[in-house]
Symmetry: C2
Subunit: 453 residues, 2 copies
């Protein structure tokens, strides 16, 4: 990936056009606001470490976003949208400098109806959840970074998370109702997308317009109890997780399984998990705790701890040991560790069992159960003992050869990390809304290679 | 099935023991309270038409139930529990006379917590729903008879219904939290069953104790919109129903598909369904209507009507065209029609398509989608053009030979209508709580044949 554009040298005319807006020109601050969590990847580290923008703008409303878009188009300056910068693959790291559009000041909730909220993109997901919960509704799914991550960044760069065991992923119809986006045309304008059209900008890494408003479906609030269940045998833990995820009568929000020795990286939880044990971390409706007990009995699990929703609301929360927080805790103990993201086939855990025995300690299994087209499956966010990029690629290739689908977290290219295929609808939309290719340049393969398509 | 017991001739001593209780001794009224909807079955009609109890007792609390149980044991009088008598297979028809224990006066709600309610068995399900909804929680699943059916009767003789597309069936762990039952021992007592133990009395046709209290898990309230979608091709309608049922991001309560000519039996809906069209009747969260529109588009369906929750709360409700109300409407036009109940395999509708073409008009397909172990499947409540019992049995045998599972509605024997197998746990429990076999005698095969087991 070599950049063809030279960096804008003189931003003064642009800065003049943006007079009155909240600008950050301090190089240190800009450098900080140019980074995300790609550092989880030893492959991405050298590629992105020195990338920075040239100016940060923090709009407070859509009118200001339109102003920034117009100025960037006028001077042909790249624009990279940023939420909280918690992405894992350098999604919001500007490859060609330019403006970082920090959305965190656009954080209002416009309205909440039963099952639906209209919000601004810079709203932190925890803040959104807190406010909508007062009306009896909560966020359907959130990344484990919900305390800092923005809803716009989740839609722009995330995939699913806590809640996906019930509602599937962001890409599933019904989990995103509508978006408003500002374009980067000569005359920037606002487009509202509803229905399936939302996928023209969802999970596009901010390359297809600047999201300024979203309608997000909500879930009813349950009091969520938290439970740690431990097992002496990993495959039993995995089978328990799958059975629970497929138990239609049990209401759950998180089913996360970690093979030993992953639990040893969870300092605050260690006393609840025997040495050598495998654990399953759960968020489950309080009213489902009693039948959960029967399922635990059936699988021979042991309860490490069980907290009511009230108790769980204080102190540590299991959510922050799940999804990529598992990786975070592992890396905070041993920074040579990295990770993979894998969707396992619907084969009753046969491939999982094979992979568990095949890779042993080199690829430690961390499972997140989620719904895919109506039934539960494990996704694996394996913690990997990294040696070389070559070996990492061998591991990936082995998974793929066996029928697992890898969402490669060691690339910042949209398509290579995701569904692999070029999304023609997204490309056509980009050609319309970003004709100069100024939005987060270098991230969308379809755009880079469009002359060959 | 021949009865070995002679009917109690003189009930006066029993009546004396029950002085002060609400008794019905009028023969006409007793006869009425001895019947249910077995009349849907031309096979059951001649077997049950003349069966009546000898006395109806209507207890108002558990203490009175204990009193009735003690008196029946003392005089060895059969006791058959009755809710609203809306069962389809003569579940509450007394085969050997005796006492009909009408539970409808025990209809209090003891408490409602988030996700859970504690109620008395004689509570009508619509009344329960109305009251719990005020706290933001509703009944998870209900039969289409919810207006009159009692919760005790649903647990005693029902299987699932409106809501099962999300929560599965009553037999699924988590859908019944606890029950209290009065036994028929020499010293009748109250037993509380929790966890998996509830299945010792759930769906036992009142042969394993008299339920006096239940803890029933609840679902969060959504505003339920109602939609009729029509299709010119039946298999497309079925595929749409399956896809919707498996759409994790769409919140639904009812997905009911009816092949032509079934919709012609729906007088009040006829103007919304073109002649010859197949229809899918839906209850769907208002917030999911927009993405539903995309799914309808994808399958080429046409919206017959769409009502908001507010509009749907007045006038006809689609729920009362679904489940066995479909059969009811068909039979009210043509009383020679009968029905079957079938669980189709998880084969992507292959067998369904075969059966549709194989039986044509003789077996009209009515589908109810429901969750089974985590994924959606169609159950069929086919409307059958009845000719002879022999032909009906041929039809059943053909289904079974192809891998469909028939829950035969043409038998009043517990095991023959349900899972076919003898439930050893239920039998062992019965031996303890009903040593004289007085509860609803003649219904449980395991008990009748226990000497051979
Ligand atoms: C420890 C850890 C755990 C994580 N767990 C999860 C998880 O469970 N599930 C998950 O999906 N992800 C997870 N992530 C990744 C990330 O935290 C989430 O996807 C998060 O929602 C991103 O939000 P953000 O505000 O930080 O977005 P950013 O990182 O700032 O942006 C993400 C992408 O969206 C684009 N974008 C941001 N705002 C807009 C906008 N208004 N308009 C258009 N494009 C926009 C950006 O350009 C960028 O490409 C995790 C990351 C870490 C480090
Ligand atoms: C048109 C129509 C539609 C229907 N739709 C459905 C449907 O969608 N789903 C479904 O599952 N069923 C359905 N049914 C069957 C029936 O309506 C339901 O199962 C209903 O819940 C039964 O409740 P009830 O109060 O009428 O019970 P009853 O018919 O009075 O009793 C049912 C059984 O439970 C026992 N019982 C009742 N109360 C107690 C108690 N307190 N303790 C112990 N045992 C007890 C009785 O002895 C009997 O064996 C339908 C029937 C009709 C006629």
């Amino acid at each position: 990936m070599t950049s063809t554009k030279s960096r804008p040298t003189n931003l003064n005319p642009l800065i003049t056009d943006l007079a009155g807006l909240d600008l950050i020109t301090d190089a240190n601050q800009i450098a900080k606001l140019s980074q995300d969590y790609y550092t989880f990847s030893p492959v991405l580290q050298p590629l992105l470490a020195d990338k920075t923008g040239d100016l940060v703008v923090r709009p407070v409303n859509e009118a200001e976003v339109l102003k920034v878009a117009a100025a960037c188009v006028k001077f042909k300056v790249p624009l990279t949208v940023r939420g909280a910068g918690t992405g894992n693959y350098g999604q919001c790291v500007p490859l060609e400098g330019g403006v970082i559009l920090d959305m965190t000041r656009m954080n209002a909730i416009h309205w909440v109806k039963p099952g639906l909220a209209c919000v601004e993109p810079g709203l932190k997901m925890a803040a959104m959840d807190k406010q909508t919960r007062e009306t009896g509704w909560e966020v359907r799914m959130a990344p484990s970074t919900y305390r800092t991550a923005t809803i716009g960044g989740f839609i722009g760069g995330g995939s699913g998370g806590i809640g996906s065991v019930t509602y599937g992923q962001l890409r599933d119809r019904g989990n995103l109702q509508a978006v408003r986006v500002v374009t980067m045309e000569d005359q920037p304008r606002v487009i509202e997308l509803r229905g399936d059209d939302v996928y023209k900008v969802a999970h596009a890494y901010g390359t297809n317009g600047i999201i300024t408003e979203l309608e997000i479906p909500l879930a009813p609030v349950y009091p969520w109890a938290e439970v740690i269940v431990t097992f002496s045998d990993f495959m039993t833990a995995a089978r328990f997780g799958l059975a629970l995820s497929n138990s239609d009568g049990l209401i759950k929000k998180l089913v996360c399984g970690c093979a030993a020795p992953i639990p040893t990286y969870f300092a605050a939880l260690r006393s609840y998990i025997p040495d050598g044990a495998h654990c399953v971390l759960l968020m489950i409706a309080e009213s489902s705790l009693e039948p959960l007990g029967e399922l635990i009995k059936e699988f021979g699990g042991t309860i490490g701890y069980q907290k009511t929703a009230q108790e769980a609301s204080k102190g540590i929360t299991l959510a922050e040991y799940s999804w990529n927080h598992t990786t975070l805790h592992a890396r905070s103990v041993d920074s040579s560790l990295t990770y993979l993201q894998t969707l396992l086939p619907d084969d009753n855990l046969a491939l999982l069992e094979h992979l568990y025995h095949h890779f042993k300690d080199e690829v430690m299994l961390h499972l997140e159960f989620l719904r895919v087209a109506g039934s539960a499956r494990p996704a694996a966010l394996q913690v990997v003992r990294y040696t070389t990029e070559e070996r990492l690629n061998q591991i990936i290739a082995y998974h793929e050869s066996k029928g697992a689908f890898i969402f490669n977290p060691h690339t910042y290219i949209l398509e290579d990390g995701g569904m692999k295929a070029i999304d023609i609808e997204q490309l056509k939309f980009k050609e319309m809304v970003d004709p100069y290719g100024l939005l987060n340049p270098g991230k969308m393969r379809a755009w880079l290679e469009r002359s060959r398509l």
